[in-house]
């Protein structure tokens, strides 16, 4: 047959081949391995074949793990909400200012990404200690009396995760808000819409792709974050990633770790899918395009 047309069909594949190879070697294969391990008992009874649901039965039958999953999802949910709320406001400002202000915001967004995660977390640690800077200042102002135990709390975790992820949210949302034409907002203003209603009826629907993308990113990063919970709440924190780590590294039970990881993966994928479907339905995406 025609040689050039064959080459033309293969050429695009050549461009994505490195990604495919990388994904296969470092993502698909390990996940498949993990999956197969999770369906094997750590100490298979003699005579029983490889396949076993014992790990899943142990997890799903124990309220402890359900609570842990709930904690992790609640953490992801809260961190996503705060990151998006702050990120949206900052991104809006970023797309509507100029000069030094723009540079300042862009720099403030990039610095946390450049700073080592652990250094950043330890900074927060020092700020929030019972005798740390914030509590001392509040105490001096007479707003609180005596030290408060913030450090190991759920909300401290939400705060640090928000700090970690706001920059990503800002960058994605700014790109999305940049695509909302100013005259559509002006049109809404002239037609009688107040600020909050413009946000709700024009700005949010038109920037929905950015909201969805940044939500997915922040949510999955927060739910699967290990470093932040282990440093803020310590190894006793009841979150799935901490449990996975302790099964894999301390108890050397890779089968349980695999089952937990796989459950987390499935839950995140399903929630993400539902979120995308919901946002598409609400904004009737696919039926219209930008004019």
């Amino acid at each position: 047959m025609d040689g050039t047309s064959g080459l033309r069909r293969v050429a695009p594949l050549l461009f994505i081949a490195p990604v495919i190879v990388l994904m296969a070697a470092f993502f698909a294969l390990p996940v498949a391995d993990l999956l197969s391990m999770s369906f094997q008992a750590k100490h298979p009874e003699a005579g029983a074949g490889g396949f076993s649901l014992v790990n899943y039965a142990k997890i799903l039958g124990d309220l402890w793990y359900w609570q842990m999953l709930g904690n992790s999802l609640a953490l992801g949910f809260c961190a996503t909400l705060t990151s998006l709320a702050i990120g949206y406001a900052v991104a809006w400002r970023l797309t509507h200012c100029g000069g030094w202000e723009r540079t300042l915001i862009a720099l403030a967004c990039l610095l946390p990404i450049f700073v080592n995660v652990i250094v950043g977390i330890l900074g927060w640690y020092i700020l929030m200690l019972p005798f740390g800077v914030i509590q001392q200042a509040l105490d001096a102002l007479g707003l609180i009396h005596g030290p408060l135990r913030w450090l190991r709390s759920f909300w401290a975790l939400v705060g640090v995760l928000t700090y970690e992820h706001v920059p990503f949210a800002v960058l994605i949302l700014a790109a999305s808000l940049q695509n909302v034409p100013a005259d559509k907002i002006a049109a809404a203003r002239i037609l009688g819409a107040s600020g909050p209603r413009i946000l709700w009826t024009v700005l949010l629907p038109l920037s929905m792709p950015g909201i969805v993308a940044s939500s997915i990113l922040v949510f999955s990063l927060s739910v699967s974050s290990y470093l932040v919970p282990i440093l803020i709440t310590g190894p006793r924190g009841q979150f799935i990633p901490i449990s996975i780590y302790s099964y894999a590294a301390e108890l050397l039970d890779w089968n349980m770790a695999g089952a937990l990881a796989f459950i987390l993966l499935v839950v995140v994928v399903v929630l993400t899918y539902l979120f995308i479907a919901l946002s598409n339905r609400l904004t009737r995406r696919g039926e219209w395009s930008m004019v």
Binding site: A187, G192, S289, M290
Partner: protein, 381 residues
């Protein structure tokens, strides 16, 4: 004593409005009034301040100085949503994620909470008015440019605004649609009698649609008058060349008698014209002759003024023919002729006579545009 600006028949009044962007004065103490039901056009080249004026009226920009009243009430500090305006943007600015129905109903919902039945009735009325029945379920991206334009008009009109603002609404349409929409907008204006402020750089749009035209230049209104009057008596050479085409020339006043001036061109051609009050014997005099005011004849003719000229170029456009001509001392003249079907056209290099009368000479206050090449009459934008 009643304040004249409190007259409710005066829909809009701007007094001494000015605006400066980065040390550049865009509006210079602008005064403007729009009466109830009037269609007023701000016409001018880009950068003349017409869009800035519109945005100040809309409340999207705040002026540095001056006063503004809407329906006789101070509006300087009113937010856009409280000004009771309708606006059609250059890009139409339709909400792409809303159906045609929701786009049109948007203003009704934002300015109150009428029942669904009332909204439906009003939206249907608007769709009827802009001749788009049956399109309510479509999204803007499923409509042609002309239809999107109609939706934008309907959306701006549905709330019954005191003043309709049109910001170069036709510049995104092709020439045929533009002509169609000019007539449409004029028809809708005559149906609803809504006061309208149009911003455009197209003399054709301004002439076709307006009750009055304000020609702007450098942040000021240079001349404001009804279309026919502005065309017949533009006063300044800028207005003369911006509204319509004109041969602008400079001469010297040789004699003045009972309001009639005898003007001599540098090379000896002469003509008489209605004198402007500031003209003095021996002083400079600027004037213009419209291309269609010249009668192009093959040989000697009887007329008040006859100049002999040579055809340098000919542009045939079917119904009309434009001749580029050179007369002694006036090397760039343009004349517009209406040839009879099958009639003879003058050839390049042919000698002709240009005949015109005193009433065809438009006296001007300045000769700034003198000698500037007349714009080709194909201009459509």
């Amino acid at each position: 004593m009643p304040d004249p600006s409190a007259d409710p028949e005066l829909i809009l009044r701007l007094e001494g409005v000015s605006k400066t962007f980065q040390n550049q004065r865009v509006l210079d103490a602008l005064d403007l009034e729009i009466a109830r039901g009037e269609f007023l056009t701000l016409l001018g080249p880009s950068g003349c301040g017409k869009s800035t004026t519109l945005n100040i009226v809309a409340g999207l920009l705040s002026p540095d100085g001056g006063r503004m009243t809407l329906r006789g009430r101070a509006a300087d500090r009113l937010p856009p949503r409280k000004r009771r305006l309708g606006m059609v943007f250059q890009s139409w600015a339709l909400f792409p994620h809303m159906t045609v129905f929701d786009n049109i109903a948007y203003g009704l919902k934002m300015q109150g909470s009428p029942s669904a039945a009332v909204v439906k009735t009003k939206v249907d009325e608007m769709l009827e008015l802009v001749r788009l029945p049956g399109a309510e379920g479509k999204f803007p991206s499923q409509l042609s440019g002309g239809m999107q334009q109609r939706v934008a008009l309907a959306r701006a009109l549905v709330t019954g605004p005191d003043l309709l603002l049109l910001d170069e609404p036709l510049s995104n349409l092709d020439a045929a649609l533009r002509k169609e929409m000019q007539v449409e907008i004029k028809r809708i204006h005559e149906t609803l009698k809504v006061s309208t402020l149009l911003v455009t750089h197209s003399q054709e749009e301004a002439l076709v649609m307006s009750d009055r035209i304000a020609v702007m230049r450098g942040g000021k209104i240079e001349r404001i008058a009804p279309p026919a009057e502005i065309y017949a008596d533009p006063r300044s050479s800028f207005v003369c060349t911006f509204v319509g085409d004109a041969n602008v020339m400079l001469g010297r006043v040789e004699a003045l008698d009972a309001g009639v001036a005898r003007i001599v061109l540098p090379t000896g051609l002469s003509l008489s014209a209605t004198a402007r009050p500031e003209w003095t014997i021996g002083g400079e005099a600027a004037f213009a002759i419209r291309p269609e005011s010249f009668a192009v004849r093959p040989g000697p003719v009887e007329a008040e003024h006859v100049w002999s000229a040579t055809v340098t170029d000919r542009i045939f456009k079917g119904g009309t023919v434009t001749y580029e001509l050179a007369a002694e001392g006036a090397p760039h003249l343009t004349a517009l002729a209406l040839p009879r079907a099958g009639g003879r056209l003058f050839e390049r290099g042919e000698s002709v006579a240009l005949a015109f009368g005193r009433q065809d000479v438009i006296p001007l206050a300045d000769g700034e545009m003198a000698g500037a090449a007349v714009r080709p009459l194909t201009e459509t934008v």
